[in-house]
């Protein structure tokens, strides 16, 4: 942590960045911090409560963040995948940002929890993480981590749903989506949802009905999920941002499994790896096509 503060202080003092986006202690656990003065660098912290994906603040629609000057961002491995996604999709150039990577030994499910990494409290995405030491960075801080005890509970739930009939799954999702109030927090929290005007906000033509009723909710969540297929970096921010507790992670995880199985694609922190939707192979499977 000292290492991180010293580095941030140096970057701000020498003027190579305008803002360091990191984490600080807040009244309800750890929260994102925007440090613009080198004397404030001592506020920066990093521990397993730092669940937020700060790459979200790099998306081009964040005009307020842009006004703070060139950013240095504290990224975990999973967050670095989001930065790679933005680079891959030309939303960012590598020179626009300084990446301070932290070696990460897993995070909690929620930033307000006490640090206590157990199989029950660790975030689902930490199971099988291959970027505990990020590969995309300018500076790397922290000690070599050990993997936390973790299992991805989502996969068991997906298998359970798939064992049922389409009617069972329909009933399950209708019950979950009935709570959606269409606040679009899932979209706002997502680092990969960066369209200047979202199709869900457009009214002429209005493809997706915007008030919270079952028909519009289903259209929105189908669209959100398909737009994330092969692009989702599995940071879990959509589900964490959802005030209604809708298990969006199940949809994202399901589609990640589909693109892995069909196209051999895994979320990557290498910007040169092409996204599976938007690229193709002439021998892609087509067993479902007459």
């Amino acid at each position: 942590m000292k290492e991180l503060q010293v580095l941030a202080r140096k970057l701000l003092a020498e003027g190579s960045v305008g803002v360091v986006i990191g984490y600080e202690e807040g009244p309800h656990g750890v929260r994102p911090a925007f440090i613009t003065r080198s004397e404030d660098a001592g506020r920066l912290v990093f521990d397993p409560r730092c669940v937020h994906n700060l790459a979200t603040y790099l998306s081009p629609r964040r005009s307020v963040v842009k006004g703070l000057g060139k950013p240095a961002v504290v990224v975990k491995g999973c967050d670095a995948r989001a930065v790679a996604g933005l680079l891959r999709e030309s939303q960012l150039t590598r020179d626009d940002v300084v990446l301070i990577a932290v070696r990460c030994g897993g995070v909690m499910q929620h930033p307000a929890q006490h640090v206590d990494l157990r199989a029950e409290t660790v975030a689902d995405r930490c199971a099988g993480c291959d970027v505990r030491e990020p590969h995309l960075f300018d500076f790397m801080v922290g000690e070599a981590p050990t993997a936390p005890p973790a299992t991805d509970r989502r996969e068991a739930r997906i298998r359970e749903l798939e064992a049922g009939s389409p009617a069972d799954r329909w009933a399950f999702w209708q019950q979950e989506l009935a709570r959606c109030v269409r606040c679009h927090a899932c979209r706002q929290a997502c680092p990969m949802c960066f369209c200047e005007r979202c199709v869900a906000d457009k009214t002429q033509p209005g493809w997706i009905e915007s008030s919270p009723h079952p028909r519009g909710n289903l259209a929105f969540h189908l669209t959100r999920a398909i737009h994330q297929a092969g692009r989702c970096v599995d940071c879990g921010e959509c589900e964490r941002a959802c005030p209604a507790g809708i298990p969006l992670g199940l949809l994202n995880r399901k589609l990640a499994l589909v693109v892995a199985e069909r196209f051999g694609h895994h979320a990557s922190d290498d910007p040169s790896v092409p996204a599976p939707i938007g690229s193709y192979a002439s021998n892609d499977g087509q067993e479902f096509i007459l």
């Binding site: 997906i158 749903l161 798939e162 389409p166 009617a167 069972d168 799954r169 329909w170 009933a171 399950f172 999702w173 209708q174 199709v199 493809w207 997706i208 009905e209 008030s211 009723h213 079952p214 028909r215 519009g216 289903l218 259209a219 969540h221 189908l222 669209t223 999920a225 398909i226 297929a229 092969g230 949809l251 399901k254 589609l255 589909v258 693109v259 069909r262 196209f263 599976p276 939707i277 938007g278 690229s279 193709y280 192979a281 002439s282 892609d284 499977g285 087509q286 479902f288 096509i289 007459l290």
Partner: protein, 150 residues
Amino acid sequence: MATAAESLTTFEPRITAFVCNWCTYTGADLAGTSRLQMAPNVRIVRLPCTGRIDPLFVIKAFERGADGVIVSGCHPADCHYTAGNYHARRRFAVFRELLDFMGIDTRRVTFSWVSASEGGKWRDVVNETVARVQELGPFEAYHQLAGRQA
């Protein structure tokens, strides 16, 4: 020939077909000019390419009362725009799995490659889809989802 009483009780599904201009639309045209007999339940929406077919079209079709959907275009390597159908193939491979995971019976959605010379294949695709959806019945689960007016 069905009697009047019978035709009132048989369910006639509404099928929306999204087809590409260069292959399937021309193939369907060929089926028509060749006077091939096929089920009259399909409404065709012509698009430049399967690559232009957004998954939202399928969602909208169900919202507006379709019981089934057909998506059809050029065979691989035949795309008028070189690769539109390859992109569509990936997109719909994933979208189909998403529909299934969210509980929409994928037997309601047919994907096919029909070239401009395959009038007979188009007839088969149409008849097969209509028969399949007829068996599944009206897509009431989707049509009865409450909308703004409810």
